[in-house]
Symmetry: none
């Protein structure tokens, strides 16, 4: 279980299936910067920390190692959940089943 920022950034990026270049594009940063962060040779500025958290849809607290809970956070999570309260019980269950199907597909390989 990673706890340093550099480790959290790398593991989260890989969890999302992104290369450093792809994450850089998504966060509007330089690929070089991503590498510096993941090797620990630099710490992100205020703005860039937010960009990373937004691009990866995680909390800044998780990225910084202040918490072990990796809850989905940020704009992407917000858009995913917006309007959910307007769905019926059955529709929520349908979404739930699809989520679990995607999860099992993801975890089928190892663990």
């Amino acid at each position: 279980m990673p706890e340093k920022f550099s480790d959290r950034l790398k593991s989260t990026r890989e969890l999302r299936g992104l290369s450093q270049v792809e994450l850089a594009q998504k966060a509007k940063l330089q690929p070089t910067a991503i590498s510096h962060f993941e090797t620990g040779s630099r710490s992100p500025s205020f703005d860039n920390l937010r960009r990373l958290a937004d691009a990866l849809s995680v909390s800044t607290d998780y990225l910084m190692g202040r918490t072990d809970e990796m809850k989905l956070a940020g704009p992407a999570a917000d858009s995913l959940f917006r309007g959910l309260d307007k769905l019926s019980e059955g529709d929520l269950q349908a979404l739930q089943m699809m989520k679990e199907a995607l999860l099992s597909k993801k975890q089928g390989g190892e663990k």
Copy 2:
């Protein structure tokens, strides 16, 4: 309801009943720095952001103004949450699309 970092820092500090000097002592940084942060003339570095959050016992996400988006009520929504953070970008988009399909089916219109 404050949303900029400078406002969140000031309101949280006052909520704790601390002066800038007292917060500076608690966070082990300069009173000048606190003032700069609260007036917006500086943004905190990675280390100092963590010190502020620790000293005030709040999340960095709250201090940065990125925590308001994520609230969703209800037990069904809660179980839907679980494990979502382990999904890839593409899977999240798939879920997103399905949710929107269900929503539009339900209410026909949008918004």
